[in-house]
């Protein structure tokens, strides 16, 4: 593989409105923190998508791997009692 000359890779998380969680929306290249923040702003918030941005170096992200699917996630498949579906949600509550 040829060396990437575009700088360090950063993951970008955008918060669409105050109070909402930041959502992963992609990545950018940049050589430093300020550049990463500005590039994320220029690439991902051009159409009014955000009120706040997080950027984090991709190398600092820790991820589970596809082989983990069995032991990590499948045991939850048959634990229906963990879902709060037996409660009624008050009217007007939009984000649960």
């Amino acid at each position: 593989m040829t060396k990437d000359s575009q700088g360090i890779l950063w993951e970008v998380f955008i918060q669409s409105k105050p109070g909402q969680p930041h959502r992963h929306c992609g990545s950018v290249h940049a050589h430093d923190k300020e550049m990463a923040l500005q590039n994320a702003r220029d690439v991902y918030t051009r159409r009014n998508e955000g009120t706040n941005i997080w950027v984090v170096r991709s190398e600092y992200m820790v991820s589970s791997s596809p082989e983990d699917i069995g032991p990590f996630f499948e045991p939850a498949n048959d634990k229906i009692y963990r879902h709060p579906t037996f409660y009624s949600v008050p009217e007007g509550v939009t984000h649960m």
Partner: protein
Amino acid sequence: MNQNEAHFNYILRLADTNLVLGHRLSEWSGHGPYLEEDIAMTNIALDMIGQANSLLQHAAKLEGKGRTEDDLAYMRNEREFYNTLLSEQKNIDFAFTIVRQFLSDAFDFHLYKKLESSKDETLAALAVKGGKEVAYHLRHTAAWMERLGDGTEESHARLQTAWNELWAYTADLFAMNASDRELVKTGIAVDNETIKSAWLKTVEEVMKKAHLAMPANTWQHSGSREGKHTEHLGFLLAEMQYLHRTYPQAQW
């Protein structure tokens, strides 16, 4: 020049600088050093052309001769343009582009703050809106000044070369004619002398971070306030105006 003509002419000065510098930046579109910066420069170019559009609409209305913003942008010749000499200078390389943009952004940043209280309400509203865009442009270019100036030996050398060349166009940013001074009295125009020290402070702070030295040659170009330009503007207008002049009715 009566008061209304002076007012029209003052708005043209602001509009033309945005239009010409926006066009210069747009020449980078698809040629940026890497994808993200390509998008960043195109964003800034679009902001500036958007500001030019609003200002030219305002100018056309003030003139009241039925011309539109397109007529003003595409049907005037070189000597009828009042953009700053700095704005028309060529891209040369990324360092030249950043120095040109930084010096101009720093000027606009302080100018727009003052224009917010102009007696011309349309202009004041445009300055509030445009000021937010300019604040971001300045943050972007100031960061690049520091990065290039404090970067490698080559990036520093290129930045200093660009600085030495372009510094000679900075006095022209502040140029005012007699009718501008009349407009200052009526509260429409800003006296550029009043923003000089704030501009210089912004510039010197960034110079320090970028380890830049003032050029030994302090000679300054002038003339843009009277419509006298460097050779580069004619070529820029030829490219920018070609389509509209060839197909005047073209719609897209």
